[in-house]
Amino acid sequence: MNSFFDVKYALHILPELLRASMYTIGITLVGFVIALVLGLVLAVLRRSSIASVSRVTGFFIEFIRSTPLLIQVYVLFYVAPLYGITMSALLAGTIGIAVHYACYVSEVYRAGLNGVARGQWEAACALSLSPWRTYSGVILPQAIRPVIPALGNYLVAMFKDTPVLSAITVVELMQQAKNIGSETFRYLEPITMTGLFFLLISVTFASGVRHLERRVRLP
């Protein structure tokens, strides 16, 4: 017990931490897919020509972005049941983190949409494409490509925010490490290993995004 970092003990708890990290990665990927779709919806709504729609969307994005994720997750988990919406901790956590990041992602999309040349909109209008075809066929392919790095940053940021969900009893990586620590009264190994896991997985995600970026680059 006196050794600085007990390798045997670290190997002993490794499988449990690995299982918990799979859970964390799962939450991140599912949450990010929701965030990508919802963020796009928010970004398009914010550009709506109906002033009230764009203003309400704008305020919603601003509000979610400037309040802590922790409280939003608490609201989903503790307040929503009062209005008859009961969710498991995992579901509430995933939705909470997805909505939080959808607002960040929608700002990224907004930058991408603003970057599309005006002529493209006019050309789509001149060809009398429907709004759906305009977005899906003309605007989005040009708007999303340049913002993939920024989207990737938010994937990594979201992954690093998943420990917040431990506050509503989701047993992800951090919570698992804390549980192990409180059982054995050795915190050094589990929490340090959790830190290393986060570092490794963040780096993996980041290199995955860079790879994707190269694949979709226009020649």
């Binding site: 309040t67 922790l70 608490y74 490490a177 804390k178 929490i191 986060f198 570092l199």
Partner: protein, 222 residues
């Protein structure tokens, strides 16, 4: 809304703690951003390496993991360093957001045109004067807007210190919720307080942004 006058004083007490942590955290983060940038632009490879490791480690891992590490691991052997939750909160937030801040500062310093450095050298300015009079004032124009975002991130990050037993706004909200069961009102009020605090940060930083870009032609949007 008759219960507001019961809830508000306790929540405001928590807000005060949140504000203290945020202010000290921001100050430490600015200091660490400066130190990190100095290390990473230093002439010695060892110092550059230390700076890079600092930034990558603190940006690559989760803030909550760092707080827990400081809170649970440091008091045990072999470290035996028991910090109060308040210190852990400030050190944790300061180090974490300092690493992000150092990236912002480095980018901003790079955005100052090379001719400015050369002109300052040609005028025989010392390195310190060059930095203080020529480079930093121009770098600040680019550094402040992202720094504002980072400060809001830090403010939001303070909600995590409730998980290391510090009685900040989030902690008070949870406590009140358990005592009174006025869940919806309490969390709505808490969200509102955080939102207002964030707007205050934005307003203060806009003031500084105007000051540093005084007398400089603005590139207008649209």
């Amino acid at each position: 809304m008759g219960d507001m006058h019961e809830l508000l004083p306790l929540l405001l007490k928590g807000t005060l703690v949140t504000l203290q942590i945020a202010v000290f955290g921001i100050l430490l983060a600015i200091l660490m951003a400066g130190i990190g940038t100095i290390l990473r632009t230093s002439a010695w490879r060892v110092l550059r390496w230390i700076g890079n490791v600092y930034v990558e480690v603190f940006r690559g891992t989760s803030l909550l993991v760092q707080l827990f590490w400081l809170f649970f691991v440091l008091p045990l052997p072999p470290f035996n360093l028991a910090l109060t939750p308040f210190t852990v909160a400030i050190v944790g937030l300061g180090l974490h957001y300092g690493a992000y801040g150092s990236e912002i500062l480095r980018g901003a310093l790079r955005s100052v045109p090379g001719g400015q450095f050369e002109a300052a050298i040609a005028l025989n300015m010392t390195a310190a004067t060059r930095m203080r009079r020529i480079v930093l004032p121009q770098a600040m124009i680019n550094a402040l807007p992202p720094a504002t975002n980072l400060m809001i991130e830090l403010l939001k990050g303070t909600s995590l210190v409730s998980l290391i037993t510090l009685s900040d706004l989030t902690f008070r909200a949870r406590q009140l919720d358990e005592a009174t069961f006025k869940t919806a009102e309490i969390f709505a009020l808490t969200l509102l307080i955080y939102f207002v605090l964030a707007q205050v940060v934005v307003a203060i930083m806009r003031h500084f942004e105007r000051r540093v870009s005084h007398g400089i032609a603005q590139r207008t949007v649209k």
